[in-house]
Amino acid sequence: MLLVKDMSYNAVMGRKNEIMKKAIGVDYDVFSYGKLGFDYEKMMKKVGYSIEEVEKIQREGKVGNTPLYELKNINALVKKYASKGKGARIFLKDEAMNASGSFKARRAAVSVYHAKKHGYKGVIAATSGNYGAAVAAQALQRGLKCIIVQEVYDSRKVGQPEILEKTRKCEAYGAEVIRLSVGPELFYTLLCLLEETGYFNASLYTPFAIAGIETLGYEIANQMKEIEGRYPDAVIATNAGGGNLVGTARGLIKAGAKDTKIIGASVDLSGLHMASDIDFNKKSFTTGHTGFAIPFATWPDRTDVPRNAARVLRYIDRYAKVTQGEVFYVTEALAQLEGLERGPAGNTSLSAAIAIAREMDEDQIVVVQETEYTGAGKHPNPQLTFARENGIVVKRGKPVDSKPGESIMIPETFEQLSVTDIDVEELKFNLIRNAIEKSGLNSIGDEDFSFLVEDTNATEEFVEKALKKLNVVYQ
């Protein structure tokens, strides 16, 4: 009798650990301790790569050493609308210059190198973002096959222009693109494919992928030192899955910029359900938004690997959200004032930077650490055209009056650009709550307690208080 594998949803999900172990080649168990803890730094050291190794790998893949520009015209307007003595200078790291057009090339370069080194014949990544093109562009250079799995269409086979463009870009680099309708079962498809092909899972959340971004923070620190003779006061990263912020923060620290504040920025999409067939096309941003960012920050291990190396709360000092209309406005400003036409999603952090720079002192420096390529579909015009086609009101108005899924307000003035702070302490509490709920523990010991302190970068008092609130005994 032929043994046929059970390919039902539950059966495949049940084989998850076994499939992932083969597809990543990392035994995560060796880093575990206590009931919920694991040694994060040991994992990064043992499985990741050093900055020097990563730099070499990225040079081979046409990645890294991107320019850092001061945005002089935007800075003049920041100063105009800042009170006396305020108005920091903004610098922009032009990551669109990497092969494939975004910072994602950094993590793809390392993942693909690692896959090749360990004898995998191909790589697979589940992503509707810039990462797909990045993996494809790196895989072809190292002679590996590449499959990208994307969530593209709603049940009417209507897809957002931004994602349609990403399909095209992946195909341009020779990848097989599998497009899916809306649903978290994308992960099921990924598992089926990994099992069938034996390819490497180029997950966004492995230690290799995060090590790839460390060069971004490292370069920023060194470039600022060269241009201005000092490290930046703050670096702002667009935050979704967390790797961008975490890798950059680690790179800054490795370069010695230990006092630089790490600020996260996301587009506010609150109220829209990420797995909804209807909400899917009511959002005008497909990445860098709160719909990914908040769940990932408060429960990093929800990903396709057992231990997510992107753990935002370990590094973030401040977290700001901006509206969709503000990001489109700022994208236009970057093109029209600075001569840099770049994709909207990458400008999320620039939008936040303009508001935050106004509050900072005039002798301070804030770095926006990415841009992304632009083109048909990935541009404010098609994204706003699509929004209108889906019943969203697009007009000039105050950002505070916009509502995700209903309206997009293009600010009336530069002065209206603002940020709304997300309470980082609350996110930290929620991470602890998730850790406790997922593990089902009602008491924890010293090892797990220290893990929670590390994982939230909070004080012992904070964690003690949180546990008490959750009725968990610490002994």
């Binding site: 097989e176 599998i178 309708s181 649903g183 099921y188 909804s276 004032l337 706003l384």
Partner: protein, 101 residues
């Protein structure tokens, strides 16, 4: 065009999970529709019409079967309509810079 021949670049469609076999914890509107996936590749059948069950070879050489959903599929995304609200932003901001100088 609804007829394809061997070697044509085509798209196929597969129902991956019927509505009643989907994951738990999905919003209602998602739960009532099937999960569908689409592949593109070169047609391996000698001849086929739309909706026929066919086999293709993908860009990396994998063979996949499914229902023929498009022949010579094109990329339909574009630069959208001109968005006057945004064009105005450019004019306004450049004027402000001019005034500052």
């Amino acid at each position: 065009m609804n007829k394809a021949k061997r070697g044509d670049w085509v798209e196929i469609e597969q129902i991956l999970l019927e509505a009643n076999k989907r994951a738990d914890n999905l919003p209602e509107e998602t739960k009532k529709v099937p999960l569908i996936q689409w592949f593109k590749g070169y047609l391996l059948n000698d001849r086929a019409e739309l909706n026929d069950e066919v086999e293709i070879e993908t860009l990396i050489g994998r063979k996949v079967k499914g229902k023929l959903s498009e022949i010579n599929p094109k990329h339909v995304h574009n630069f959208g309509e001109s968005i006057k609200e945004l064009m105005d932003v450019g004019i306004e901001l450049r004027k402000e810079i001019e005034e500052l100088n």
